[in-house]
């Protein structure tokens, strides 16, 4: 009787192929699966949503209780910069010396997040320009951005360093960052933009 002993090689090949297929499928499964909501990654959607809600409510409350406009007008017209700002003309942390700034520090900076605050205004040529109020650094990919609109009028008065009203109106200011782009009592329409992210 002659035994056929070449099938052992075939068995081996089939075994290798089977292992290869299983291994490939395992690697494929591991690479295509996205991070779960319970992962500690900073791209967590829940955290971003919560951060956006915090920033939006902060600006809405500031608008409602009248602390948003004083921050926009917290301008030293003599130096041509915000009061108590750094040599670069803007704050280097969220702790601006206004009521809104204190809220930014309390609700963002002290809770593991940081912020950039920009004031976007309309220039005389109709282009939107930006004046930095706070610049901490370059935001991460998962930073969120919220805005709130403030209307400025010719008779709005700048604030002093202690947030009290100064005698300088926007119509009289010489070095205010935003120009008077309307012939009437309207001065400009600015947007306060808060960009925040987790540190």
């Amino acid at each position: 009787m002659v035994m056929d002993d070449t099938r052992g090689q075939l068995f081996t090949v089939e075994g290798f192929v089977a292992a290869l297929v299983v291994l490939s499928s395992v690697i494929f499964a591991l690479t295509v699966t996205a991070a779960t909501p319970l992962s500690a990654s900073t791209s967590n959607q829940h955290l971003e949503t919560q951060l956006a809600a915090t920033a939006e409510s902060l600006l809405d409350v500031a608008r409602a209780n009248g602390t948003l406009r004083p921050t926009v007008l917290y301008w030293d017209d003599t130096r041509g910069t915000f009061h108590n700002a750094s040599a670069k003309g803007y704050y280097l942390s969220c702790r601006v010396d206004t009521a809104l700034g204190h809220q930014l520090e309390d609700r963002l900076e002290r809770r593991g997040t940081t912020c950039n605050v920009n004031i976007r205004y309309v220039a005389t040529n109709g282009v939107i320009r930006t004046e930095k109020l706070v610049y901490v650094g370059e935001p991460t990919d998962n930073a969120i951005r919220v805005t709130n609109t403030v209307t400025l009028y010719d008779d709005d008065r700048l604030r002093q360093s202690d947030e009290t009203l100064s005698n300088t109106t926007l119509a009289n200011a010489t070095r205010f960052y935003a120009p008077d782009v309307s012939p009437g009592r309207l001065y400009n329409v600015v947007e306060v933009e808060v960009i925040t992210w987790r540190m």
Binding site: M1, M3, R7, L10, F11, V13, E14, G15, V17, A18, A19, V21, V22, S24, S25, V26, F28, A29, L30, V32, T33, A34, A35, T36, P37, Q45, H46, T49, A52, A53, E56, D60, R120, V122, G126, I128, T147, N148, T149, T151, Y153, V181, S182, P183, G184, R185, L186, N188, V189, E191
Partner: protein, 321 residues
């Protein structure tokens, strides 16, 4: 030659194929598991996003800004002394259009289209007596009609001096008694009700309201000067039951003063429409000035995923609703 090898030996030749098939099956199972897991995670991710709600909030925030800005512009225009209602409306329209254009520039950067346009305005009149003097019309008459069937009373405050009021000794005088004593009074009347408010001195500044339904009510303040709020029903800052009846007569109301020589005071009244008495003008004492009582605007907000239009949104020109 016949195959006489055992049966189990013949079956062992299929073992490798079984191994391969099982491996293929496991691979397919793992791939399907990965796909299902991905679908679940993605679904939960999309479900927790706030994109639609966020756009709705932006619309609400924009509309709130529009209403605040429109009100601010109207109040500012009403505060500028200008005898021409047309000028005030034109200024409001121009400033609102400027604001809309500036706001639209910001919106362009966010891929949104935002516009607001002035729709209609309602003319009102502000009548003012700033100096503390007798409540007479421009010709000095003490019995005169300030407004007739006005569309509404937005504001009515009168500050009176106790020293100039008629002194009444009766703690519960009738309307006839008060009229006989030439006590100063203001009558608010519409088609269904008439309330007459008598103002005199009885141990203090006293208000007594006689209604056409036969009821009456009294309130008093001990100060030498008191501010009467007819729309808010207050006397010297406190709630006054005697004024609650007149306070409800705000539509189609005629306002008439009687015995204006029996009082000295200053007042501000805002009504819908024009005053009745032709002797009161922009440069007289008392004076009248046209104002924007209220306005309506049309708001439009377009963004990817949301189209919002709201027409005839009413904006009050002052502290009245």
């Amino acid at each position: 030659m016949a195959d006489v090898s055992p049966v189990f030996a013949r079956r062992e030749t299929d073992r490798g194929q079984l191994l391969l098939l099982t491996g293929l099956g496991l691979a397919a199972l793992l791939v399907m598991l990965a796909l299902v897991l991905n679908a679940v995670i993605y679904t939960e991710n999309v479900a927790t996003r706030d994109s639609a709600g966020g756009e709705t909030i932006d619309v609400g925030r924009y509309e709130s800004t529009v209403l605040d800005t429109t009100r601010t512009i109207i109040i500012a225009e009403n505060g500028i002394q200008n005898p021409t209602f047309t000028d005030k409306v034109a200024n409001l329209s121009t400033q609102l259009a400027d604001w809309s254009n500036l706001s639209a520039l910001h919106g362009a950067g966010d891929a949104t289209v935002r516009t607001v346009t002035l729709n209609e305005t309602v003319k009102g009149t502000r009548l003012t007596q700033q100096s503390v003097t007798q409540v007479t019309n421009g010709g000095g008459a003490e019995n005169w009609t300030m407004a007739e069937s006005t569309g509404g009373i937005g504001h009515f405050t009168l500050a009176v001096n106790r020293s100039a009021l008629v002194h009444i000794s009766d703690p519960n005088p009738t309307a006839a008694d008060l009229e006989n004593e030439s006590v100063f009074s203001i009558t608010f009347a519409n088609t269904s009700e008439t309330d007459t408010v008598f103002i005199y001195d009885y141990g203090g500044i006293t208000l007594r309201t006689e209604s056409s339904d036969g009821t009456n009510s009294t309130c008093a303040a001990a100060d030498t000067v008191a501010v009467i709020g007819f729309v808010n029903a207050t006397l010297d800052g406190s709630r006054c039951a005697a004024l609650e009846g007149p306070a409800t007569l705000t539509d189609g109301v005629t306002i008439r003063f009687s015995n204006g020589h029996s009082v000295t005071g200053a007042y501000t009244v805002v009504i819908v429409g024009d005053p009745k008495d032709p002797s009161i003008g922009f440069a007289t004492t008392p004076s009248s000035e046209p104002i924007i009582y209220e306005a309506t605007v049309d708001i439009q907000y377009l963004a990817p995923g949301i189209t919002y239009e709201n027409v005839d949104v009413r904006v009050s020109g002052g502290s009245w609703p």
